[in-house]
């Protein structure tokens, strides 16, 4: 029996013995360097040690790996190791997710090779707008007014004040909460397990915020403002901030249910479009493209225009990622991805002392100081890319990561059967410092080149969601989530349906990459 036809389990064992630097490994009987040594024997000698095999093949691209696989059984075996495929998988998804990349395989995925295949098929389907499956989450059939996907959760709010939290893996409703009025804002904090919602009662012209625990299902907080309408909110692990969008703010410590501050900013020329809590600094983006930073107590840290990036003064959508980069969409249909290095810098400055940060330290590591105009001019913003869009839409959402951005639109004029458009964008530019991998590979070149596709969803999908009118939309790399005017949610899945994919995975006798996860 050839040495390399052993199964995946033996590969694991070898990993341990090979990497363990015991003194015994040096006294192995010397390999006979016969002059007549065959090419195969020589190659076998070279790639038998796990460290060498791993180190050589982890430099190769997916195409290179397959070229090796096609040469002979020995190289097919050598390139079928789970760790090598894990490396390829992680390279593939690099930059696609803002949130953590999976360290272990998801439960429904048997091996990393399968993971890679599923991933590439999913990307292709995105680019072509080919939905593979539609999953329905049906609730009480009231018009959806807010929608958010953060895998594995989908959070929806309806115009009757209901909030629903779904688990998309199990397709089950986890929680249902009730607020008065139409839901205009919802937020789900996975840690510390709360849902916050803002409701506006049109008849009584009153707005209120309620907080719920997703663990117990109980209401844990109620906030309102007597003199003005709450229109826009943000929440983090400690604070809740609400504004009327027109310069009036109230902040609370929701853990102690106490009001922290109340302040007014006069003479702002335009309304607040987006409000965020970056640590404990309030960051807001105005309709005219102005960014304002201030403390939880209302101390202004700075007011800066984004005129050079957003010259049209018509901000309509904004998304802030957890790396403090921001995608802004202007009504004139420019889209820009902006990094705010000042926010990131202060964060890394405090974590560089080598100590793991405690909750308290993290809380203190906010910007929490005035920023001068010079400072802002020098390093306040950095544009990843800007893009001019062709279409006007009345609602949009985005998902994806730094290198690949996915966004979806709902159209005002429903010329298409399904008024949803799917786009993918890759960043352009020459900023190579954020692309640390695969310097010479094709993959890399593609990441730097601008790359845009736009597709209407395929007509056959019309059959599935025909007659249903989308009201809200959101997406992540796996799904487009459509909230409906009729109520309910449709998840449009782009990854191939698992059973089909598995059936299509051919196996060779004794292919160790088909054996499950080994680490």
């Amino acid at each position: 029996m050839d040495l390399y036809s052993i199964d995946g389990e033996a590969t694991t064992t070898r990993l341990v013995t090979d990497t363990e630097p015991t003194s015994s490994s040096i006294s192995v009987i010397p390999v006979q360097q016969d002059l007549a040594e065959s090419g195969k024997a020589r190659l076998e000698r070279l790639i038998l040690p796990y460290d060498i095999r791993y180190s050589v093949f982890s430099h190769l691209s997916l195409q290179d790996i397959y070229n090796c696989q096609l040469t002979c059984k020995l190289l097919r075996w050598a390139t079928s190791d789970q760790f090598i495929w894990k490396r390829i998988a992680l390279d593939l998804i690099q930059g696609e997710f803002y949130f953590d990349i999976p360290r272990a395989l998801p439960a429904n995925i048997p091996n990393w090779k399968y993971f890679c295949k599923r991933h590439l098929l999913r990307q292709r389907n995105w680019r072509q707008g080919q939905v593979q499956d539609v999953i329905s989450l049906d609730d009480n059939y009231q018009k959806l007014t807010t929608l958010q996907i953060m895998a594995p959760y989908v959070l929806t709010g309806c115009d009757d004040g209901r909030i629903h939290l779904w688990n998309i893996h199990t397709k089950t409703l986890l929680n249902r909460f009730q607020i008065r009025g139409e839901i205009t804002w919802v937020e789900h904090l996975q840690e510390p397990k709360i849902v916050a919602g803002l409701g506006y009662d049109k008849k009584k012209m009153k707005s209120e915020i309620r907080l719920f625990s997703t663990e117990t299902g109980n209401e844990i907080g109620f906030y309102e403002e007597k003199f003005w309408d709450l229109a826009i909110c943000a929440i983090n692990g400690t604070y809740l901030v609400a504004s009327d969008g027109d310069g009036r703010y109230t902040t609370w410590d929701w853990r102690t249910e106490t009001k922290v501050s109340q302040f007014t900013v006069d003479n702002e020329p335009s309304i607040t479009e987006a409000l965020y809590l970056v640590k404990n600094t309030i960051l807001e983006l105005h309709y005219d493209g102005m960014i304002r930073l201030f403390s939880i107590h209302g101390v202004c840290f700075g007011r800066f225009t984004l005129d050079n990036i957003l010259p049209n003064h018509k901000v309509s959508f904004c998304w802030l990622h957890n790396d403090y980069s921001m995608v802004v969409w202007e009504s004139s249909n420019t889209m820009a991805h902006i990094r705010l290095p000042l926010l990131v810098q202060d964060r890394s400055a405090t974590s560089s002392d080598g100590h793991p940060q405690t909750q308290a330290q993290t809380q203190q590591s906010m910007i929490d100081r005035p920023i001068t105009q010079e400072e802002w001019d020098a390093q306040g913003t950095e544009v990843y890319w800007r893009h001019q869009l062709e279409h006007t839409c009345n609602f949009a959402a985005m998902g994806g990561g730094r290198f690949q951005l996915l966004y979806v639109q709902i159209f005002e004029n429903l010329m298409d059967q399904v008024p949803i458009r799917v786009h993918s964008l890759r960043r352009s530019g020459d900023n190579s410092m954020d692309v640390p991998m695969q310097e010479e590979s094709i993959e890399h070149e593609r990441q730097l080149g601008e790359y845009v596709t736009a597709h209407s969803l395929k007509p056959e999908l019309g059959r599935i969601i025909q007659g249903l009118r989308p009201s809200r939309i959101d997406c992540d790399p796996e799904y487009i989530v459509v909230g409906l005017v009729q109520g309910g949610v449709r998840l449009l899945q782009f990854a191939p349906v698992d059973e089909e994919l598995l059936r299509e995975m051919p196996t060779l006798e004794g292919d160790p990459s088909m054996v499950g996860e080994v680490d």
Partner: protein, 159 residues
Amino acid sequence: MKVTLESSDGQVFTVDKEVAELSVIIKEMLVIEQANQDHPIPLLNVGAVELAKVIEYCEHHRNDPTIDDDEDYDSRKKPIEMDDWDKQFTIVNKEMMFELILAANSMQVKPLLHLGCRYAADIVKRMSPTEIRDLFQIDDDFTPEEQDKIEWEKQWTKL
């Protein structure tokens, strides 16, 4: 302090201790055999030609900071620094380089191992299966059916 190393074909090399200690194996042996350093350390897997080359590498890199070598995802992302000296060093024929990789692996000289593996990967990169076979002088031992299966499977890499 000097250390003497003996190659598999009996040649003895004397090097500075900190140079030899770039090899994890030797470093650990020196800890174990602290009291007993008057005889050369035998390297039964490493021939004199390769050992000379490994020592040349270690001499040049004696002052490099040690790198943490784990298989963690992020660590590989750091670009492997290759200075002009390293580039000159890798201008050898491929047989020699393969022997060096094996020597670096058995002596556990991690930076040299990585350098060599990268060199080997660069050779193979973008080669067709036939070119790879020619490179290593190996034969296609698949049946046509197996060949078809892999070709078919390869299709999805071009998505």
